[in-house]
């Protein structure tokens, strides 16, 4: 009959504690879902890259650089330049509008007010882009509220066309990407210690001077990050130019769409997509370089 005992017998190997992972392994384990997700995205990008050097009808087996050569034609170059210009201008406008909002958010004392502000800023991210475009239609359309008010006041005879052109698209780009500018700017401004402002004020600087010469330079990394995010987001914008541009503002993402439907030219669409990604990445890298330099200067001065 076998005896079972609760005490450890002499000579028997000690009970091993539960298996633990090293801190490095734990970190990798923790990161693995995110890395898996990123891996899928990167794989998709690589597939697009492969398709871009394929040929129509032989996307996976063919090899040709014709799709890239086609992008050098004025039709596509104009579209690329228009895309970059609208993305850049929208980033500048969004940042200019976001700076006061971000400053306000960073200096709010009441948690309730801060939450209300945050919710208001985040609203465009929560509402469907299609609905937002309908909102613009109701306000700015030829028969919209603004035109009706202006005609009612006798200021204009015919409706002003604010939609279905570059102005309309620009407004849409700024509005939809606004939260991406506000959040990093507010975060950067919250990081600027009040003691700097107090020191500047003590030395006789006016509020405007404090803002311009202390808060703004110290928040520059956040401002550049905000601008970069808006630029990248808007460079690939599709719904806004499609709906608010009335198909009359040929941004590159819309051209990509045209290549897929109805032309079924996947290599041309992929090549345009790759060019857009590379251009955006190049600009983001430059911005990161400038931000990093600025950050290092700030750290050195502190």
């Amino acid at each position: 009959m076998a005896h079972s005992t609760l005490t450890r017998q002499v000579g028997v190997a000690p009970l091993r504690p539960a298996k633990t992972f090293s801190p490095t392994a734990r970190a990798w384990l923790f990161l693995s879902p995110a890395m898996l997700f990123l891996g899928v995205l990167i794989a998709a990008s690589l597939l697009v890259l492969r398709m871009s050097v394929g040929t129509k009808g032989a996307e996976w087996s063919g090899f040709s650089l014709a799709s890239y050569a086609q992008l050098l034609e004025p039709y596509y170059l104009k579209s690329l330049l228009l895309t970059l210009r609208l993305a850049l201008v929208s980033a500048l406008i969004a940042v200019l509008l976001a700076i006061p909002v971000g400053y306000c958010m960073s200096r709010l004392q009441s948690p309730l007010l801060r939450r209300v502000f945050l919710a208001a800023v985040l609203l465009p991210l929560l509402v469907n882009l299609l609905l937002q475009s309908y909102g613009w239609l109701v306000i700015l359309g030829p028969g919209g509220m603004l035109n009706q008010a202006l005609i009612g006041l006798g200021l204009i005879d015919r409706p002003v066309m604010l939609l279905y052109n570059q102005t309309g698209v620009l407004m849409g780009l700024v509005q939809t990407a606004f939260p991406l500018a506000v959040l990093p700017i507010a975060s950067a401004m919250r990081g600027v210690s009040r003691s700097y402002e107090e020191a500047a004020a003590t030395l006789g600087a006016s509020r405007l001077q404090v803002f311009r010469q202390v808060v703004l330079p110290m928040s520059l990394p956040g401002i550049i990050t905000g601008a970069t995010l808006v630029f990248a987001y808007n460079a690939s914008s599709f719904v806004v130019p499609l709906l608010l541009g009335g198909r009359r503002v040929p941004m590159l993402a819309v051209m990509v769409h045209d290549q897929i439907a109805p032309l079924m030219n996947w290599p041309a669409a992929s090549a345009a997509g790759v060019v857009l990604i590379v251009t955006t990445l190049a600009i983001m890298t430059f911005s990161e370089f400038v931000t990093g330099r600025r950050r290092r200067i700030l750290e050195a001065s502190q």
């Binding site: 279905y164 499609l242 709906l243 009335g246 198909r247 009359r248």
Partner: protein, 367 residues
């Protein structure tokens, strides 16, 4: 208690019988073929559009087919033809669908990729009533299903009489504010041909057409990518006319007087149509007889008539049954009107010029 139970059961039975009777009365063609139950319990997987045409196909084709045969139709309503093409291509050798209904250009793409089976026309009895030019497409890989018919759309508030020529688009007194189709749509290609013909050219000599289209640039409010937005612009009085555009985009709005939306197929030059096709992928998962039965059912004269009345698509069946009431409508096309005035796309020719024409059209109307 038992009396209560009995009453409830009787009530349920009565309501059930009444529902079946009402359904049978609404769909007499179900009753006519109700004995064909050899597909009982089988499943057919259908891929169709997500728009009103797709919904109407579920109501008028899939639901009646289920009632007639006892088979189950599992429908996937995907956005557009190109999305359907992408979905089927992604499936490779293992497609998830037995039947796909899509535009001709999509079917051609799938056929050239070798993903479609060429159907046996002898297994589709209703095809004998379909005129030869609408029977097949995509090099014999697709069966004609319905005609996507493009009209001139106009505001019933500002345009008092339905235009009888495409030249109305160039009449700025009649229609100061217009919309045109977006460049990537086949409708834009048809408009280029129409403009060319109005300017003395034709589809092989389109240069005069592009010059004529340039005359419209300042009056074009938008190139209507989104039909709901177009309807809204008509409702708010911002548009007077536009096209080519299918009334099938506006089945609800045209019936709602608040939109002031009218459409006409009565142009003396005729109206352009695109043949929509039913295709069968190779290696499809379901029963082949069932797939043929479904295609045949979609060509049934009553089903074709219902689709035409419901969604303003043109029937391909020359014997499509259109009610006397519907025949009075300017938006509902009869087989006779189609035979008289419908102009078919030459998809093969359009495919050869599509890329260049899209560019020219985009450049003309870029803001």
């Amino acid at each position: 208690m038992s009396e209560h139970d009995f009453s409830r059961r009787t009530f349920i039975k009565t309501v059930g019988a009444a529902s079946v009777a009402a359904a049978a009365l609404s769909f007499p063609f179900i009753k006519a073929s109700a004995s064909d139950m050899r597909f009982q319990g089988k499943t057919l997987r259908l891929l169709t559009w997500s728009d009103d045409t797709g919904l109407a196909a579920l109501r008028n084709i899939a639901a009646t087919f289920e009632a007639k045969t006892g088979a189950k139709v599992i429908a996937d309503r995907t956005g557009s033809t190109s999305e359907m093409v992408a979905k089927l291509k992604a499936g490779g050798d293992r497609p998830q669908y037995d039947i796909i209904t899509l535009a001709g250009v999509g079917a051609e793409g799938l056929a050239s990729a070798g993903l479609l089976e060429r159907p046996d026309l002898n297994r589709i009895p209703n095809l004998r009533d379909v005129p030869a030019q609408y029977q097949t497409g995509a090099d014999g890989h697709g069966i004609g299903y319905l005609l996507w018919c493009n009209s001139l759309i106009y505001s019933t508030r500002t345009v008092k009489e339905a235009p009888n020529s495409y030249a109305a688009l160039w009449d700025k007194d009649m229609a100061p504010n217009i919309f045109l189709p977006p460049p990537n749509w086949t409708e834009a290609m048809d408009l280029i041909i129409i403009a060319a013909k109005l300017a003395g050219g034709d589809e092989h000599n389109v240069e005069p057409g592009f010059k004529k289209l340039e005359e419209l640039k300042d009056r074009v409010i938008t190139l209507g990518e989104n039909p709901n937005q177009i309807a809204e612009l008509f409702r708010t009085g911002s548009l007077d006319m536009g096209g080519l555009y299918a009334p099938a985009f506006f089945p609800k709005q045209i019936r709602d007087p608040s939109y002031g939306l009218g459409a006409t197929f009565g142009m003396k030059e005729g109206f352009y149509t695109d043949l929509m096709l039913s295709v069968m992928p190779k290696h499809r998962p379901g029963d082949t007889d069932l797939a043929y039965a479904f295609i045949d059912h979609s060509l049934d004269p009553l089903v074709q008539g219902k689709m035409a009345e419901d969604i303003f698509n043109g029937p391909v069946n020359a014997k499509a049954i259109i009610s006397a009431e519907a025949r009075k409508s300017p938006y509902i096309l009869t087989p006779e009107q189609i035979s008289e005035k419908a102009i078919m796309h030459d998809n093969a020719f359009l495919a050869s010029v599509h890329d260049q024409w899209i560019r020219r059209y985009t450049e003309i109307f870029s803001s």
